[in-house]
Amino acid sequence: MANIVIDKIKKTFGSFEALKEISLEVGDGEFVSLLGPSGCGKTTLLRIIAGLETETSGQILIGGTPVNGLAPKDRGLAMVFQNYAVFPHMTVFENVAFGLRMKKADQNRVKSQVDKAAALLHIEPYLDRYPNKLSGGQRQRVAVARALAVEPKVLLMDEPLSNLDALLRLEMRTELKAVLQASGTTTIYVTHDQTEAMGLSDRIAVMYDGRIEQIGAPVDIYSHPASRFVGGFMGSPPMNFIRLPVTNGTVKLGNMNHAVPASVEREIVLGLRGENVSLAPLAEGLRLDVRVAEPMGSHLLLTGTIANQPVRVILPPGESVKAGEAIGLKLAADRLTWLSPETGLALNHPSR
């Protein structure tokens, strides 16, 4: 059992609050991604879990044991550093073998583990080279292999695929997922890349400004963002936010009246995923003034305005809409997010 419980962790650097009461539970064998903009505290949280940084307050339990004050090597985890930290004076083989050597594993096991990890990350050709001649992406894979080779109970990865080209990243992502699932490794994975987070994770924790904004299954976070920040951060194109006037507890979407959560009075913000619309006659639907139409092959991307507010929506590739046209849109009523214009928080969120 190697579950992780993070209980009200705070971290301040001088007067700067890098983490503001983070609580998070990661189940045994679960894969949780930390997703968030630069500087929101992802690396700091990971370093605290690893024991490389001391929390200002709060508690961390790994496998039920409090690890506060425990040295990193006694926490039974492996880590991939954001800047790789591949040892320059050791060959790639010795780098990957490092953790096993420290555990005094016998030569046969070292060899087989290193070969296995190297094969997985396609770094066999470089095993007897020194890292300083490798490219950033190759070094990064050495760092991942070094962490996988020890078969840790808990694996912390700080943007481990950020330097790979798109194709290789996709491939590595799939293989990583397969391997970690098979070994049942509890994983916390930091990334900027939301498609990566969506594809890999059992759950995603969206962080913002030293806080966890929302945690949940990828689909939940995508379709039911808890706040304007999460909706705008997840998805490509990001969620559209449209301010609409409220009359008698309803808003007018084209010629339809739609009931909204009762707590708002004059105005409400509609959170609309670009793909939750379909074409409707202009007279019936919500009016979109198309400024740019981009046929993307798999879909048609329209940029324009609804009620004078910028939006991006997606239609099936077969539709023919031209720039400058005005069209009607029918919205998928059960997939709409309603947010408070003042706080930016979702009003009908299932968690509330």
């Binding site: 490389l52 090597k73 492996a78 880590m79 800047n83 020194y130 300083n132 070094r146």
Partner: protein, 284 residues
């Protein structure tokens, strides 16, 4: 016109330093070598023979090498320890480094005299030992009858005086090693000693090499501290050169000593360059 100007400018700028070095270093060097291997204007090994036949010659060589052997490793170890300790300090780091480098600002003769005031018969050490009742009367540490105490005193003074420069070089080297390397080693199970010997030490090899070369060359040139503490009780190579130059007025033999010291220093440098080889491929 423009181009001619451009190609000449660098040489013009370098010229003063080249001329300066040639006049004040290269020329005297050639003169010294010639002085050592000539007699009355003709090539001759007479000076070298006089030097090798001198009573103090073997003693001076032995003492100089023993001193270097005793002082340099201790200095490297102390400097490594100091450097590693100060790396862990957050507040007041600059102040500690400043205090530690004070001996650097003191000339070696002054340092020798400073230690003389501690170690001479009426010095602080004897007063202290006497006041604790550890000795009956003033002990003599620095005479030719107590060669081991004298050697020890000189070694301590040299270590005190010359460790700071080693530390400065090593601290600079340590600063070049990103903390993530040590952290990664720590996460993967390396204890403090393993981290030091398997990660930190290999990564500061270039700094270590510079420090070793510098300190060893300086150790072979040891003189002022020896002279201040022991006078002629403990002959060393530079001391012999000094004696032949000033007391015996034999510039040829003095030059022979100077050349010998230079050859030993160059040899030591070569040994270090080979032994502590820095492979550029294995640097960060």
């Amino acid at each position: 016109m423009q181009n001619i100007k451009k190609t000449w400018i660098p040489y013009l700028l370098i010229a003063p330093s080249v001329i300066f070095l040639a006049l004040l270093f290269l020329l005297p060097l050639i003169q010294t070598i010639w002085l050592a291997v000539s007699e009355g204007g003709a090539p001759s090994l007479a000076n070298l023979r006089t030097m090798a036949g001198d009573l103090n010659f073997r003693l001076a060589i032995r003492n100089t090498f023993l001193l270097a052997l005793a002082v340099v490793p201790v200095q490297i170890v102390i400097a490594l320890a100091m450097g590693s300790m100060v790396a862990k300090v957050d507040g007041g780091r600059e102040t500690i480094l400043w205090v530690w480098t004070i001996p650097l600002g003191i000339s070696d003769l002054a340092a020798g005299l400073l230690w003389l005031s501690i170690l001479q018969n009426s010095g602080y050490l004897n007063s202290l030992l006497f006041s604790f009742g550890l000795i009956e009367r003033q002990a003599n540490w620095l005479s030719y009858q107590t060669p081991i105490a004298l050697f020890f005193a000189i070694a301590v003074a040299e270590i005190w005086r010359g460790t700071a420069i080693v530390m400065v070089i090593i601290v600079a080297g340590l600063n070049q090693v990103p903390k993530e390397f040590r952290e990664a080693a720590e996460v993967f199970g390396a204890g403090p000693w393993t981290r030091f010997f398997r990660i930190t030490l290999p990564l500061i090899k270039p700094a270590l090499q510079s420090a070793l070369i510098l300190r060893t060359v300086l150790a072979f040139e040891v003189f002022a501290v020896v002279y201040a503490l022991g006078g002629t009780n403990m002959p060393v190579l530079v001391g012999e050169a000094y004696t032949w130059q000033n007391q015996n007025q034999n510039y040829g033999v003095a030059a022979a000593y100077a050349v010998l010291i230079m050859v030993i220093s160059l040899a030591a440098t070569l040994v270090y360059l080979k032994a502590v080889r820095v492979d550029p491929e294995r640097l960060p």
